[in-house]
């Protein structure tokens, strides 16, 4: 903020002395300020944006997809479903954790040692569903979605029934392939 009124004088003089040349040079300088300024800003902005967008094209966590040991076959008696925590090594950005909980799964033995595994994650908004002994049904406590024992949707806001997971029985050992699916979608799609 120039407080000195006399300093108006020289600028007017300068403007008056060579008006034609001045306007052309001023224009070039304005152009220069814009062009060079954009270049200078791009030096940091472009790589910063590239690094910021890194998670779009890269896996930043390992989310399994492998068969994980769920326990011995004898653990799953016909009748009531059993909640099983699955453990695996997990990489989260820079850190690697050995044998940590990856997810929870409801396992039902339908007799004849035929096992069925369902992700405990409610397909609605991702709360964990609970088994209600009295009703013999699964209930999501968040928004009251009810699922039958076979996992199919009975009532509530969930767009689909509980998500089935692959089960593998080798000898006496039960393994489950743990995966996550898109929430809120009508169809079961990998997340």
């Amino acid at each position: 903020m120039s407080t000195d009124p006399s300093s108006d004088q020289p600028v007017q003089q300068e403007d008056a002395s060579a008006p034609a040349e001045d306007s052309r040079r001023v224009f070039m300088k304005v152009l220069g300020v814009g062009g060079l300024g954009a270049c200078a800003a791009a030096i940091s902005a472009v790589p910063a944006l590239a690094a910021f967008s890194y998670p779009l094209g890269h896996e930043t966590t390992s989310n399994g997809g492998n068969f994980l040991v769920a326990g011995k076959l004898s653990r799953f008696k016909p009748g009531e479903p059993v909640l099983v925590d699955l453990f695996a090594d997990r990489v989260d950005a820079w850190s690697r954790m050995v044998n940590v909980k990856i997810g929870s799964v409801w396992v039902i033995n339908n007799g004849d040692n035929k096992l069925r595994a369902m992700s405990a994650i409610c397909p609605h908004l991702g709360c964990l569903v609970d088994y209600q002994k009295a009703e013999k049904k699964f209930l999501c406590p968040c928004h009251t979605s009810w699922f039958k024992e076979d996992g199919s949707l009975e009532s509530g806001p969930s767009p689909r029934g509980l998500d089935d997971l692959e089960v593998e029985v080798k000898g006496n050992e039960v393994s489950i392939r743990y995966r996550r699916f898109k929430l809120g979608a009508k169809d079961k799609e990998p997340a």
Binding site: V11, Q13, G37, C39, A40, A45, Y54, W94
Partner: protein, 583 residues
């Protein structure tokens, strides 16, 4: 329809932003537009660049003792252009230190500190000091062995000053380095110092607007040549910014960013040096030892800063001509010369220090090795735990678990079974042939009276086996390890041939017990491939195989306990650790 003018008027009536911009743009720059006026704008540009880069870096950084190194390694080696972000942020911090110092120097030369520019000047000096503070705090955040080496020295210096211990503890967040240290450094680096810097830049700009840019012209002449800030001066400002930015861009690409050293591990020979802008202080400490140290750490640096701050009052010259201000200029020049000289001495000393340079070379190698390991993710302990990603580390763990009770490797372990410390070396083979029943080899094996009677290999003292023949036999044994191993051991083919002839001739009865053709069984181990990975894996799997140690073997059969991969790791570990006698 709302016209652009109407929109501008609407915004301006409410915020006043547009007229404020217009006023700033039309501000007159006394003495005309010139490159020398660009210092504050360049500092602002560099600072903005640091903020942009710093914000994205903060999205990948974990200011915790366990997470810091691993997260910086992730940013540097895995994130798209992460190395560039780090490198440019680092080089820009140097540029800020340099531009800040140059600006202070420029103001001294043109008399930009003289009345009524005292606040103008002092704010510039503080800005330059804050540039150093930001660069310094940032250089410690990677928490690599360099950062830890530096902070150890820097905080010790802090504590050595009377009353410095509480200061050190406030910075460190306790007595020892840990999570609090990093959180404090991080808070200073990203909140405290940048906020102060912004405030000082604003104060300084206020001074520039009030007093105008410094000009060596007389007041009347400067006013006569004054031009509008926009676009005349801003053009020079932006040109300077772009030039500095381009230099930094090229420097970052050419240096491929900045080194991230490995985590601090015990036994590192790397001596961390301070950043270049602190080398002179480090050098100063060489001249003030013991109780005099305070002169180098506090008194002289404090006096220098006080002198600069007090410059407007120190300078009593009537005019601002260089001649009139000669004593003041000489004083500042002396200070600068001192800093440059001390820095040069420090650089020259390190340049000629072989041990130091060896340590640096080792540290670079270690950095490469640990960062490659870090790509698989670092265990939650962080830092040094990255070494556990090394298959060799897994082999060491396996060895400790399954082998170390009886066998020794790298000088550690039991003595009930052969010592592998220099396994299959010439010295090891010679000693084995001389006396296989030495406790170093098979003499330590504990046998129960019920075990089958054991007849080991007879000793071959020098009178029975002359040194020259022993050498030839050892060379022949080495050649049995396979082509690759023989090549690695630089086997002397002629000597090995002599050994083979001795072997076959039966002079020393070797071939009576040992077979050397694959698959054949003798009274003693078949030596085909002896010392190779395959032979070791075979022995670990089942040492009591008929073509190995047979019924004499006391070692458990690990083929049932370990996977082929694990046994391969163990074999590699035994071979590799034998090749490095100091490891």
């Amino acid at each position: 329809m709302l016209s652009l003018q109407q929109l501008q008027a609407w915004v301006d009536q409410r915020t006043g932003a547009i007229s404020a911009f217009r006023q700033a743009a039309q501000r007159r720059v006394p003495g005309g537009a010139k490159l020398w006026n660009a210092f504050p704008s360049v500092l602002l540009f560099l600072f903005a660049q640091e903020v942009v880069l710093g914000i994205v870096m903060a999205m990948y950084y974990s200011p915790s003792a366990a997470g810091a190194w691993a997260s910086v390694a992730y940013l540097n080696d895995q994130v798209t252009l992460g190395w560039f972000l780090r490198g440019l942020h680092h080089h820009t911090s140097y540029a800020m230190v340099i531009v800040g110092a140059l600006y202070v120097g420029y103001l001294v030369i043109v008399g930009g500190y003289r009345r009524p520019r005292e606040v103008y000047w002092i704010s510039a000096v503080i800005i330059a000091l804050l540039c150093i503070g930001m660069a310094l705090s940032g250089s410690l955040l990677p928490w690599d062995e360099q950062a830890l080496g530096r902070i150890a020295v820097e905080t010790s210096i802090m504590a050595s000053v009377p009353g410095g211990e509480p200061q050190r503890m406030l910075l460190v967040g306790g007595k020892e380095f840990g999570n609090f240290t990093l959180l404090r450094l991080y808070s200073f680096h990203v909140f405290v110092l940048p906020v102060l810097f912004t405030a000082l830049l604003l104060l300084h700009r206020r001074q520039v607007v009030r007093h105008g840019e410094v000009s060596s012209l007389s007041a009347d002449e400067a006013r006569a040549r004054a031009v509008r800030f926009f676009p005349h001066q801003l053009f020079w400002d932006v040109l300077a910014m772009t030039l500095v930015g381009t230099v930094l861009l090229i420097a970052t690409v050419n240096t491929h960013g900045t080194e991230l050293f490995g985590p601090l591990v015990s036994g590192s020979k790397f001596q961390a040096r301070p950043e270049w802008y602190f080398l002179f202080l480090n050098q100063l400490l060489h001249y003030f030892e013991g109780p005099a140290q305070i002169i180098g750490t506090v008194i002289l640096p404090g006096a220098a800063v006080s002198f600069l701050v007090a410059l407007p009052w120190v300078d009593r010259a009537e005019s601002s001509s260089l001649k009139a201000r000669a004593p003041v200029l000489a004083g500042v020049g002396l200070l600068m010369a001192g800093i440059v000289t001390l820095s040069a001495i420090a650089v020259a000393r390190d340049h000629n220090d072989k041990e130091y340079n060896k340590g640096v070379a080792q540290a670079h190698k270690f950095a490469e090795y640990t960062r490659e390991l870090a790509k698989a993710g670092v265990l939650p302990e962080g830092g040094e735990a990255v070494l556990q990603n090394d298959p060799k580390y897994q082999a060491i763990t396996l060895f400790k678990e399954h082998c170390q009770n009886c066998h020794t490797v790298a000088g550690e372990g039991g003595s009930e079974a052969p010592d592998f410390s220099d396994y299959n070396s010439r010295a090891w083979l010679s000693a084995l042939i001389r006396n296989a029943q030495d406790p170093r080899f098979f003499g330590g094996i504990k046998r129960k009276p019920t075990d089958p009677k054991h007849e080991g290999m007879d000793p071959y003292p020098a009178k029975d086996l002359p040194d020259a023949d022993l050498k030839a036999l050892v060379e022949y044994c080495l050649s049995l390890s396979g082509e690759e191993a023989a090549k690695a051991a630089h086997v002397d083919a002629a000597l090995a041939k002599k050994g083979a002839d001795l072997w076959e001739s039966g002079t020393y009865n070797c071939s009576d017990c040992h077979e050397v053709t694959e698959g054949e069984t003798g009274d003693a181990p078949n030596l085909f491939g002896h010392g190779s990975k395959a032979w070791l894996v075979k022995t670990i799997t089942n040492s009591s195989a008929n073509d190995l140690f047979g019924k004499d073997a006391k070692m458990p059969k690990f083929g049932q306990k370990l996977t082929p991969e694990q046994m391969g790791q163990l074999a590699d570990y035994i071979i590799e650790s034998a090749q490095k006698p100091n490891n």
